[in-house]
């Protein structure tokens, strides 16, 4: 499969001014400034093939947005080789810009708010040189998929956050970009709007074969859209692989949830570590390798009426991982 995004040995280092506290240090800093180099991204490498939808995960300050800005061409990396669609993003060539889109949940639409949504579409058509026939087809498709019909003749300033996000996404997709960078696309959206947006992105990627790189703090976004995830922390790549394998890789345990027929005294510590107990049921944490054996023992030794074996929630796994990394 063709590689559309190629990142090798990417480094991004900022120079931040520092000085000790106090008036004397402040005056000294006027003539002799000292700097600290902060590595936002360090030695990062990965490739993304055409049509892949990849989740880009990491805690705040991990370097996700910095990486997206480098890939889209806003930032110039300190070193490393970055290619998107065969272009050096930092050169921001016209042919490159007309094939990518960066959608930020914090700034869904960067256009004058007095214009109507349809005015904005017209402007986008001219800006990206979309032919009339393609424009009509895109409008029809996006209007249907994002349920935009009631919004088309409304001013952008009168739209709710969810409506702005839908309109912003439609604007970004009007010219059918081949590579889509989504930075926290469901930020601030309610559950219904977030689900609709996820459904749309999945359908769009499937229908057009677009390559999508998505950052999000909401695991539901990642779980519903991405089969592959790239996990970074402190600017370094920590994991690159299937979402299914992520929990197994980072959390070497499973959760067993047991409900008993009668309340009998049980020494749960003999089976595993109690994660949660709410009277009627108990959740145990058990080593992944021992899960089958412990399940067998529970079923034979206790009056079990219900038992489920699950991977721990992704949020929990990542939280443990981030906290362990911080130490």
């Amino acid at each position: 499969m063709t590689t559309l995004v190629s990142v090798h040995g990417l480094e991004m280092t900022y120079r931040a001014p520092v000085r000790p506290e106090g008036l004397r240090a402040a005056f000294r800093a006027l003539v002799h400034r000292e700097y600290r180099h902060i590595a936002a991204v360090a030695d990062m490498s990965f490739d993304i093939a055409a049509g892949e939808v990849v989740g880009f995960l990491g805690p705040n300050g991990a370097g996700k947005t910095t990486t997206l800005k480098i890939l889209s061409g806003i930032l110039h990396p300190t070193s490393g080789d970055v290619r998107v669609l065969g272009f050096l993003p930092s050169r921001r060539r016209h042919e490159f810009l007309t094939q990518i889109a960066l959608v930020r949940g914090s700034q869904p639409i960067g256009l004058p708010t007095e214009l109507t949504v349809l005015d904005s579409f017209r402007y986008q058509q001219l800006l990206y040189g979309v032919r009339a026939a393609d424009y009509q087809a895109s409008i029809a498709e996006l209007t249907e998929m994002l349920e935009l019909q009631p919004l088309l003749d409304r001013q952008v300033r009168a739209l709710s956050l969810g409506e702005r996000m839908r309109a912003g996404l439609a604007l970004a997709l009007l010219y059918r970009p081949r590579v889509l960078f989504l930075d926290e696309p469901t930020l601030g959206l309610d559950v219904t709007a977030a689900i609709a947006l996820r459904r749309f992105v999945a359908a769009y990627a499937a229908r057009t074969g677009a390559t999508v790189l998505l950052t999000s703090h909401y695991m539901a976004d990642v779980q519903s859209l991405c089969r592959r995830v790239v996990l970074i922390d402190h600017g370094r790549l920590r994991y690159d692989g299937g979402l299914d394998a992520l929990a197994a890789d980072l959390a070497p345990y499973k959760l067993l949830r047991i409900a008993l027929a009668d309340p009998v005294p049980v020494s749960w510590e003999d089976f595993g570590t109690v994660e949660e107990s709410d009277g009627g049921s108990v959740t145990l944490r058990v080593r992944r390798d021992d899960a089958a054996a412990v399940t067998g023992r529970l079923l034979t030794q206790l009056p079990v009426v219900d038992l489920s074996v699950t991977d721990p929630p992704l949020e929990t796994v990542l939280d443990r991982f981030y906290r362990a990394e911080a130490k």
């Binding site: 900022y14 120079r15 936002a40 910095t66 800005k69 889209s72 061409g73 806003i74 930032l75 110039h76 300190t78 930092s90 921001r92 016209h94 810009l97 007309t98 990518i100 960066l102 930020r104 700034q107 960067g110 256009l111 004058p112 708010t113 007095e114 214009l115 005015d119 402007y123 001219l126 800006l127 990206y128 040189g129």
Partner: protein, 256 residues
């Protein structure tokens, strides 16, 4: 080229709509921009009673002021502070197009809302303009408008280095007020102040077109003034291109 012009036209249209929705605020800034030429008119009419040339000069200066206003510290600098530059860089067009369109839209509204003030001032002080002089001033007004945009744009780009871009542009505005022919018409200053003032870029942005239109500049003096004006426009354009390149290099190295 036609695509760029079309984008510029759309940008003017979009910005005009945007600013129309803020028309109350717009009227206050039009009045703010008209205050200094009107003050000059009052002060110098009192100082030189019966001198119709001074009155004519200040009324024309008011019109030139409204046709050349630049607010790039509000549009460009505030856009940089709001984090919009990253998105602008990713749009397949020169970044300046949007700001130029907004500049032209603002000037259009300034002229529309300022026209009653110009007419009223002209009627009250009784100006006398000669239309050949006004026609000769039209290119000068266009170059002045371009020069003032370039000057303000370059200063507004200081937002890429400092959070005090408004102060930087404000200092530039003060220089235009003091040396551009608002505080005093350069024509009535003694030498060498007059020659120095005319050689600086500020007079080319404001006072020079007003003097040409008011008919206080003649013959070879007009030609010389045009050369100075075009020279400063070339220098200003080179400066703004340089500042933009260095600024964007810094922005893309440090992040938005």
């Amino acid at each position: 080229m036609s695509r760029i012009l079309h984008l510029l036209w759309l940008s003017i249209w979009r910005s005009s709509l945007q600013w129309w929705s803020r028309r109350s605020f717009l009227i206050t800034i039009v009045i703010g921009r008209a205050v200094t030429p009107l003050l000059g008119l009052i002060v110098w009419s009192a100082a030189l009673p019966g001198d119709s040339a001074v009155a004519t000069y200040y009324v024309v200066l008011l019109a030139v002021q409204l046709m050349t206003v630049s607010f790039e510290h509000h549009t460009l600098s505030n856009g940089i502070y709001a984090g919009n530059l990253g998105g602008e860089l990713l749009a397949p067009k020169p970044v300046v197009i949007g700001y130029l369109g907004e500049n032209l839209a603002l000037r259009l509204w300034h002229l529309v809302f300022g026209m009653p003030l110009i007419v009223l001032a002209a009627a009250l002080v009784g100006i006398s303009v000669e239309w050949p002089a006004v026609a000769m001033a039209i290119p000068a007004i266009l170059v002045a408008a371009a020069l003032r945009f370039v000057f303000t744009y370059a200063l507004a780009l200081s937002a890429l280095w400092t959070e005090r871009a408004h102060g930087v542009v404000g200092f530039g505005e003060t220089l235009i007020f003091l040396l551009g022919g608002t505080a005093a018409p350069l024509g009535i200053l003694s030498e060498p102040l007059r020659s120095i003032g005319q050689a600086l870029p500020f007079w080319s942005m404001l006072g020079m077109p007003a003097e040409v239109a008011a008919g206080t500049l003649h013959g070879s003096a007009i030609v010389a003034a045009y050369f100075v004006q075009l020279g400063w426009l070339a220098a200003g354009t080179a400066l703004v291109v340089g500042v933009w390149r260095v600024g964007v290099r810094r922005f893309t190295a440090l992040g938005g």
